[in-house]
Amino acid sequence: MFFFKREKYDNCVIQKAARLVGQYAVKAIVLLPAVLVCLPVFLLVTGAVADAAELSSRLSPLLSEESGFIHWKIVPDYPTFAHYGKLLFMTPQFFILFWNSVKMTFGILAGQLLVGVPAAWAFAVYQARGGRMLFGLYVVLMLLPFQVLMLSDYLVLHDLGMLNTQGAVVIPAVFATMPVFITYGGFRGIPVQLIEAARIDGAGEWRIFCMIGLPLGKSGIMSAMVLGFLEYWNMMEQPMAFLEDKALWPLSLYLPQITWEQAGAAFAASVIMLIPSVFVFLWGQEHLEQGIIYSGLKE
């Protein structure tokens, strides 16, 4: 009897331990890749403060055919801010490129606010005939990759004489349908009764949009903006196709032009470039998640 009891007890402990180990194992399996995900930032940040000579000795085995490997140090032997200093204080071109990125990104976002948000409101609130079909069209356009739209964009930009100006990158993106779709998701959450009540109280449609739509649909609008920022800060295809003049390029296109001989500068420029988007990410993560969920909603 005793023996049986004992075994039962043992089993219970083993099971409990197994479950505990299992839980931690799952946690570890889920967390490990998540940590790996952040390694690139670590490499860039630590590489950017290493001395040029040190970097070249570390990186030289990278491309060699024979032997040796890249090696890395968390704290460099000769820490220096020279790369940052050179970029920020002695390379005016860098500022121009950074400013180009800022101008184009915010130009696009401002345009999307002005054009896309009212359109999303129209689709969400007014059930006009043909509205659903138009919305279906918007969804399809949202899903078409840039390459399919490249030639048509080029033709219209050519006709308008906008090629090789930053407008060529900004204007087509202003009319992208993705932000309309995401903002629409936010507006859909507003109860119809609220809008009806405002109408009965005599509010005009514009007033309803400003006083009810904008405040209550804020999460949708913010989501579209955060997703948009991360997308356009990283934009490459459009400027590559429509901007010949390198002085008009955004940072995202300039960065890859830096060679391995100037690895320090490349690291520092990468860090500077990812600061704004990491900032937006940390500040707007809630909106980002909400935006992803809105982007997945079906009409």
């Binding site: 399996i29 990278l62 491309l63 409101w121 490249m150 030639l151």
Partner: protein
């Protein structure tokens, strides 16, 4: 309802309809106009050009289409792009779900979610510098493999160039999964959390095991999420061009040559006739895929 009442009713409705239409147009006008001018009309122009020669503008019938379909580069690019999407999307869907299910049961899931989403915030140009440090001959991956080999005493130095040959395709796959797992997890999580807890509770009461509950209750309810994840992953799969271009330029070796490379190169070389025909084909194909997915989802909507 009396005749008169009926008429009043109808009148009221048509007034409301009119007002709705007017307001709709007022609010949507800038966007509709922009879409018409910048997307729809030029797209018609492209469709028209696909039947003409590029220099003389002479009507050429289906000549451009014939050129495109017999073009070897086009066949290669379509093949690679299809292979890429067919490998990546199922992989991404499964990995996303495999992460989302434990995370949905976890306390403090916020941190895990942020970590997985973080790659979305990293500019591709910066990431590619790191990939080069990892995947070149003397990079971190070979370093790791060599050390592992020394430890096990099984193999010597590994000096494989992942970015040079057929392996580069898998580097792209890795990069895509790395970047896109985060939002897939978010979408799966939203789907899982949208399932009423009563459903799984009822299943447990009826004696279902955890596994049964997952396969019989949770999974069937996630069909809607699957649809949106597939659609959005498909959309994002075209953006892998950035990585491919930054790693290997406009003319990479043939395992990495994607439809996006082909379009860019035709564009740079001003081969607009071929490009127009290919644009129409790819556009129609994508439209058909989107419609098919939507139809599949609508058919047995839960």
């Amino acid at each position: 309802m009396t005749k008169q009442g009926n008429r009043h009713h109808k009148q009221y409705h048509s007034v409301k309809q009119n007002k709705n239409r007017r307001c709709f147009l007022l609010f949507a006008a800038p966007s509709l106009l922009g879409t018409a001018v910048f997307v729809l009309l030029p797209f018609l122009d492209v469709a028209g050009r696909s039947f003409r020669t590029v220099i003389t503008g002479r009507f050429a019938g289906l000549e451009n289409y014939r050129t495109v379909f017999t073009n070897q580069a086009f066949a290669l690019a379509v093949g690679n792009t299809l292979r890429f999407t067919l490998v990546c999307i199922p992989l991404l869907v499964v990995i996303g779900l495999a992460v989302a299910v434990p995370v949905s049961r976890m306390r403090g899931a916020g941190t895990v979610k942020s970590l997985y989403l973080f790659p979305m915030a990293l500019p591709t140009a910066a990431v590619v510098i790191v990939w080069k440090m990892v995947f070149y001959r003397g990079g971190f991956l070979n370093l790791l493999l060599t050390r592992l080999g020394e430890l096990a005493g099984a193999w010597g130095e590994v000096r494989f160039d992942y970015l040079g040959g057929g392996a580069s395709f898998w580097v792209l796959v890795f990069s895509y999964i790395w970047k896109n797992t985060g939002y897939t997890v978010i979408l799966w999580l939203a789907g899982i959390q949208g399932i009423p807890t009563e459903l799984s509770e009822a299943a447990y009461v009826d004696g279902a095991t955890r596994r049964q509950c997952f396969f019989r209750v949770v999974l069937p309810n996630l069909k809607g999420s699957l649809y949106t994840i597939v659609i959005l992953s498909f959309l994002n799969s075209f953006k892998i061009y950035r990585e491919a271009y930054l790693v290997a330029g406009s003319y990479p070796q043939k395992d990495m040559y994607l439809l996006q490379h082909l379009f860019s190169n035709w564009f740079v070389n001003l081969e607009f006739d071929k490009m127009a025909a290919a644009t129409v084909c790819v556009g129609l194909f994508l439209f058909a895929v989107i419609m098919l997915l939507q139809w599949l989802w609508d058919r047995k909507d839960i």
